[in-house]
């Protein structure tokens, strides 16, 4: 690790595994359930959150000494809202179809608990470089889960990946469909996203027993 010190590197690697915002802290679930029916939407959502959280963390961190603590939530909201509107407008300008699929959920990045959570828990108490790394790490952790869920939901639900038919054509009955395979419509419904996230949590916690909460 030439570029990053060990401590800094941990800021990025921790949220990917043992402190994952979705599977461990169980934050940002709504968007993970809502937009993961397609892999493409998951990726775009991940990139959007990466942009908003990475930049937002830096901005908040730079302002952390001048924000009066009584109105810090409002200031944080303004920062997120600004960044989200930028993302929204960029998407509308360059990927209109996709922005329609994501519909309200881009706007709802504002309410994504991961973002406010990181502002409160990290950016308000740390320098800009560290906050940037933390933002990138957490949004990558978010992205990993979104992409895994999106991958399985699109593959099993529609038989496609990024819109490309990888299992054959369901109407022409080629590929797997020639043997009687059919797409699993349940995968496209939100409850299945919850179950897939649950399965990821299950696998993760049985591999690392230390993550299991006492009750």
């Amino acid at each position: 690790m030439g570029l990053l010190s060990k401590k800094d590197a941990k800021l990025i690697t921790d949220p990917l595994t043992d402190n994952n915002p979705i599977t461990i802290q169980v934050l940002g679930i709504c968007s993970a359930l809502a937009i993961t029916a397609e892999l493409k939407a998951s990726i775009v959502m991940s990139v959007s959150v990466l942009f908003v959280l990475g930049l937002g963390n830096v901005v908040i961190s730079l302002m952390r000494n001048i924000i009066p603590s009584k109105i810090r939530i409002i200031v944080q909201l303004i920062v997120v809202a600004t960044l989200v509107i930028i993302v929204d407008l960029v998407l509308k300008a360059f990927a209109y179809e996709l922005s329609k699929t994501l519909s309200v959920f881009v706007g709802l990045i504002i309410t994504n608990c991961i973002i406010m959570g990181r502002f409160e828990a990290f950016a308000l108490g740390n320098g800009p470089w560290k906050s940037f790394l933390d933002g990138v790490g957490n949004s990558l952790g978010y992205a990993v889960i979104l992409i895994i869920v999106g991958f399985f939901r699109e593959l099993l639900g529609s038989g496609t990946l990024l819109g490309i038919q990888v299992l054959g054509d369901p109407i022409e009955k080629t590929g797997l469909y020639a043997f009687g395979y059919e797409n699993n419509g349940f995968m496209l419904l939100s409850p299945m996203a919850l179950i897939v996230v649950g399965l990821i949590i299950w696998v993760q916690r049985s591999r690392n027993q230390a993550l299991i909460e006492e009750n």
């Binding site: 009687g180 395979y181 059919e182 699993n184 419509g185 349940f186 995968m187 419904l189 179950i195 649950g198 299950w202």
Partner: protein
């Protein structure tokens, strides 16, 4: 050496290893185990979990056999209907025949084998990983599943659903006795949401109808609920419906045999008569309400709800899976209510909601499994309030006494 002592020796040999539960399961399934408990006082009773399960399976056997004959009967009846031949119906002449039974063997038996094979494999894997004994919970589920799916369900679909149902419906909650949802119905619900085209319509209920779509030999068999939902006349007499000579899921068509099974379950005290009775009452009440709505001309025959609302309330009790659900699904002691008062409420609401879903969801006119799953979720809540109500009543009595 007998098989029993062979199994016992195997058990001793593998004691402490990972595979031990698998051998123990076979041993205790067939024989009384050699080990006895040593300390304390124990109540000795014949009705352990395995015997309980076996009694339910015995109650289901008539439905399964009937389903096997009915599979063939519906197949040939549909072919005759497509050719325009009308045949006189007689039980021995056209129902209990080898031709019909043969179709049952090639279509229904594989469903049973796959359901048990896949389900028990999952149970064995979990028992080996978690190091506990194999639990008997799947014995009944494995029998229920083939009876509540359409005859033409592809076997791989059934396997996927069984794996999902056993893992998500049961094992994640801690295995047999810990599940909040009925595993058989979880499997049915999975199939319904995942592969809706195979679970509804007028093709899937008759063997071979799906393959013949678009050919000159096309056949179809709409269920009675399906016909009513589309405001069509039905061609079956009430006695046909009661005895089950109608298209439907494999083993749920014969209300008569289901009631025989119910009598057997109630006689052996395995099934709760309160739940069975109150489910039928709930369904009848909802049916009567709908009949009254039609009688008062609030809904006329131009409405898409008319067909099923106009169905006589007593007919509602015989068609669809209501009887099967009431007798074999709702009475599941794990997922149902435990208190006597709770059982009345639980059963009543199952029947009530079943008919409501049936009428208001014409796209898929069967609500029994959804109603039971919904009430499975509410069963602990119902029990909680029944118990709390009792506590309050007794507190009041105590106060009155001491005051």
């Amino acid at each position: 050496m007998s098989l029993k002592s062979n199994l016992h020796n195997l058990k001793e040999k593998y004691k402490g290893t990972k595979m031990a539960p698998a051998f123990n399961a076979i041993h205790t399934f067939l024989y009384l185990p050699n080990e006895v408990t040593h300390n304390g006082t124990h109540i000795k009773a014949a009705d352990d979990l395995k015997r309980t399960m076996n009694i339910v399976i015995m109650a289901l056997i008539p439905c399964l056999l009937f389903g096997m004959f009915n599979a063939g009967y519906q197949h040939y009846a549909a072919i005759d209907a497509a050719k325009g031949i009308t045949t006189e119906f007689s039980v021995l002449g056209s129902f209990i025949t080898w031709d019909n039974f043969w179709i049952g063997i090639i279509k229904v038996l594989p469903l049973v084998v796959v359901s048990y094979g896949v389900g028990l494999l999952v149970e064995f894997i979990f028992a080996v990983i978690k190091g506990h004994e194999v639990e008997e919970g799947y014995l009944v589920t494995g029998m229920l599943v083939p009876l509540i799916v359409p005859i033409d369900t592809p076997l791989w679909m059934l396997s996927v659903a069984v794996v999902f149902g056993v893992v998500i419906g049961k094992e994640v909650f801690g295995g047999t006795g810990m599940n909040i949802l009925n595993p058989a119905l979880t499997i049915r619900a999975f199939l319904f949401f995942a592969y809706p085209t195979w679970m509804s319509g007028d093709k899937v209920w008759v063997y071979d109808a799906v393959n013949r779509v678009g050919t000159a030999d096309a056949i179809s068999g709409e269920t009675i609920l399906g016909s009513y939902a589309q405001n069509q006349e039905i061609v079956y007499s009430n006695w046909d419906i009661f005895f089950g000579f109608i298209p439907g899921s494999v083993g749920e068509t014969s209300t008569f045999l289901i009631l025989l099974g119910a009598a057997f379950l109630i006689f052996t005290k395995i099934g709760s008569w309160r739940i069975i009775l109150s489910t039928f009452i709930g369904a009848a009440v909802m049916g009567i309400i709908f009949n009254q709505i039609v009688a008062l001309d609030i809904i006329t025959d131009s409405s898409k709800f008319y067909g099923l609302m106009n169905t006589n309330w007593w007919q509602h009790l015989m068609i669809g899976g209501l009887a099967f659900g009431a007798v074999f699904m709702a009475t599941d002691p794990v997922t149902g209510s435990q208190t006597n008062k709770g059982k009345w409420i639980y059963g009543f609401l199952i029947g009530f909601i079943s008919i409501m879903i049936r009428v208001f969801n014409p796209a898929y006119p069967e609500g029994v499994f959804l109603a039971i799953l919904l009430m499975n979720v509410f069963a602990p809540t119902i029990d909680h309030y029944v118990v709390q109500g009792n506590v309050k009543k007794r507190l009041k009595r105590l106060k009155a006494k001491t005051a």
